[in-house]
């Protein structure tokens, strides 16, 4: 993988720690687990112009698991959408960076999300819109594994398949953890690959922390979608809290956790080692 993308992944993790650390607590686990896919998207695959965040023909990313807003903000800051210092305003009164994504507040955020299950529907709407307008862009969406318990995800999946949305590439952040425990213990979504296949998607299941694998999966999704007219689901097998051992080691309990200044520094040292 290009050094640029490798470094971006590190920078996103660093930013996540600073961003959430600035307010002392937040959704650290599910932010760190998607840092790598964000690095490949913003460092290589996504077509955007930071100076023109509303450009009509841009690629779009709908972060349906909207509580991972700080991860997206971290990628956006690292990609020139707004100054890095803005990250330190997370959840402060009047901030442009609320815990859950708000397209009207943050440059570069393509859709408001946070009430789970809704963002993916919006991504499907965007993909339909792109087809009506004859654009050649790609609509990406990142769905949480716990979020996949929402029925609306599957309503949207059916429509994406019905409408042959070959311009849609979705990811599942399959970190197996949700607030109250493991996905398997609470309401299992397995076999996730077979479910998406049954819903008419091209499905790949990869290591969600392998930058090369993510990059190849996107390329493969694009070519396969083009050939068979289906949308794609790339299941990212991830680890909640990836890259920061004190988060990783507590499993689902790192969904939302307190972060002291010392923890921020220790975490940054670890991700940049």
């Amino acid at each position: 993988m290009e050094e640029k993308v490798v470094n971006l992944a590190k920078e996103i993790r660093t930013n996540i720690l600073d961003c959430i650390g600035s307010i002392g607590s937040g959704h650290i686990g599910g932010c760190l687990s998607i840092a790598d896919v964000l690095a490949v998207l913003y460092g290589k695959r996504l077509k955007y112009r930071a100076a023109k965040p509303k450009l009509e023909t841009r690629d779009r990313l709908v972060l349906s698991k909207g509580h991972a807003g700080p991860a997206l903000y971290s990628a956006l800051a690292a990609s020139g959408f707004f100054p890095r210092e803005t990250l330190l305003t997370l959840n402060q009164g009047g901030t442009k960076l609320p815990s859950h994504c708000d397209m009207n507040k943050t440059p570069g955020v393509d859709m408001t999300a946070g009430s789970l299950g809704q963002g993916f529907s919006c991504a499907v709407g965007m993909a339909i819109g792109s087809k009506i307008k004859g654009h050649s862009n790609t609509i990406y969406s990142i769905i949480g594994d716990g979020e996949s318990q929402e029925g609306q995800i599957w309503e949207a999946a059916m429509l994406a398949s019905q409408k042959k949305l070959s311009n849609l590439i979705a990811f599942t952040d399959y970190n197996h953890c949700q607030i109250d425990g493991t996905v398997e213990d609470i309401n299992d979504i397995a076999p996730l690959n077979k479910k998406w296949e049954a819903f008419g998607f091209n499905v790949q299941s990869i290591d969600g922390h392998d930058l090369d694998a993510i990059d190849k999966a996107i390329a493969k999704a694009k070519s396969k979608n083009k050939k068979n007219g289906k949308p794609s689901m790339v299941i990212l097998n991830t680890k909640k809290g990836k890259g920061v051992s004190y988060a990783e080691s507590i499993g689902f309990k790192c969904h939302s956790m307190s972060l002291t200044k010392d923890m921020v520094e220790a975490g940054k040292k670890e991700v940049n080692a």
Binding site: E56, V62, D102, M103, N104, D110, M111, T112, G114, S115, G117, Q118, G119, F120, S121, C122, A123, V124, G125, M126, A127, I128, G129, S130, K131, I132, K133, G151, Q152, E155, A156, M158, L159, Q162, K163
Partner: protein, 315 residues
């Protein structure tokens, strides 16, 4: 096109959408959730297969997809029966549309007792109450075709969410051709001095009938049509009640959360005056023809007459 007064309200909508969808650079799209047959938009679906989308029986996704289309620059109209584009998808409307400031037009057909034989499951009597506390949404209930035909271009021109509580069939003609309608204004249909009757939707004709009965008893009622309950035309309400000193609301909805609540809020904060109401009181919907339902829910002329007298007695 048939004469406007003879048309079903859904046909007025279809004619408008047909014009907009035919525009090559137009941004209107239409989403249906397996009720295109009921809104008579099936021909549009055939004529504009790209821009008219049947999402199937999946209203939550219809709402989300509409929000995504809006974020992409389109103006989506979504349709289902009233309860299924309001209470069923309240959070999708709230977050993906209103909170996200999307430009989605929500058509809910068969308001209140107009759902007739579909009964309690399909009879929205609480939709306005549920939506009225959400910011960034206009709530409009058309009165008749003359008004609705003028409302539609205004709804399209308005940038933001609009909920239309649409009667599907031929409505009672209320306004003469040439009547000028402003989506955000209440309208004095008949001036009077003794009591103000604020009415919406199918209750406007009932109010007209009631006013005639009151006239026979020497009571001069003013009828104010309030098609848009949010934002409410407070000035028109205050002006009328300053003149008459008493108010009645008449609505095809639960008395909690709808027109009565909106008028009561305006009066309580600006010009307290006796207020009585005609509307559905602590009941679910049920099956029946509209005549039966009017009687069952106390939505008849006689109910407005009684309410008017009660309000006047408290002056």
């Amino acid at each position: 096109m048939a004469e406007l007064k003879a048309m079903e309200m859904r046909e007025v909508l279809v004619a408008f959408l047909d014009t907009e969808l035919s525009k090559e650079k137009g941004n209107v799209v239409l989403l249906e959730a397996d009720l295109a047959s009921c809104s008579k938009t099936v021909p549009l679906m055939k004529k504009y297969p790209d821009k008219v989308i049947n999402v199937g029986i999946a209203e939550q996704n219809m709402c989300g997809a509409a929000a995504g289309l809006s974020a992409y620059g389109f103006v989506p109209f979504i349709h289902s029966f009233g309860p299924f584009v309001t209470r069923r998808i309240a959070d999708q409307l709230m977050i993906s549309v209103c909170y996200a400031k999307q430009n989605v037009k929500i058509i809910g057909s068969d308001p209140g007792i107009a759902a007739e034989l579909n009964g309690g499951t399909h009879m929205p009597l609480e939709d306005i109450g549920m939506l009225r506390s959400i910011p960034n949404i206009v709530i409009y209930e058309p009165t008749d075709n003359v008004e609705f035909a003028q409302a539609l271009p205004q709804i399209l021109a308005y940038k933001g969410a609009v909920y239309v509580r649409m009667f599907r069939k031929v409505p009672s003609p209320i306004f003469e051709e040439g009547y000028k309608f402003d989506l955000f204004k209440a309208n004095v249909l008949k001036p009077g001095k003794d009591v103000s009757i604020f009415a919406s939707g199918v209750m406007v004709q009932t109010a007209v009938n009631a006013a005639k009965l009151l006239e026979e008893e020497g009571i001069n009622a003013e009828i104010v049509v309030v098609p848009t309950v949010k934002p409410i035309d407070a000035a028109a309400i205050i002006k009328s009640v300053k003149k008459t000193g008493a108010a009645v609301t008449a609505e095809n909805h639960n008395v909690i959360g709808g027109l009565r609540s909106a008028v009561a809020e305006v009066l309580a904060e600006n010009y307290p005056a006796p207020l009585t109401s005609v509307g559905v009181k602590e009941k679910f919907g049920e099956v029946g023809k509209i005549g039966y339902l009017r009687k069952a829910f106390n939505l008849e002329e006689a109910d407005i007459v009684a309410a008017a007298k009660a309000a006047i007695a408290r002056k």
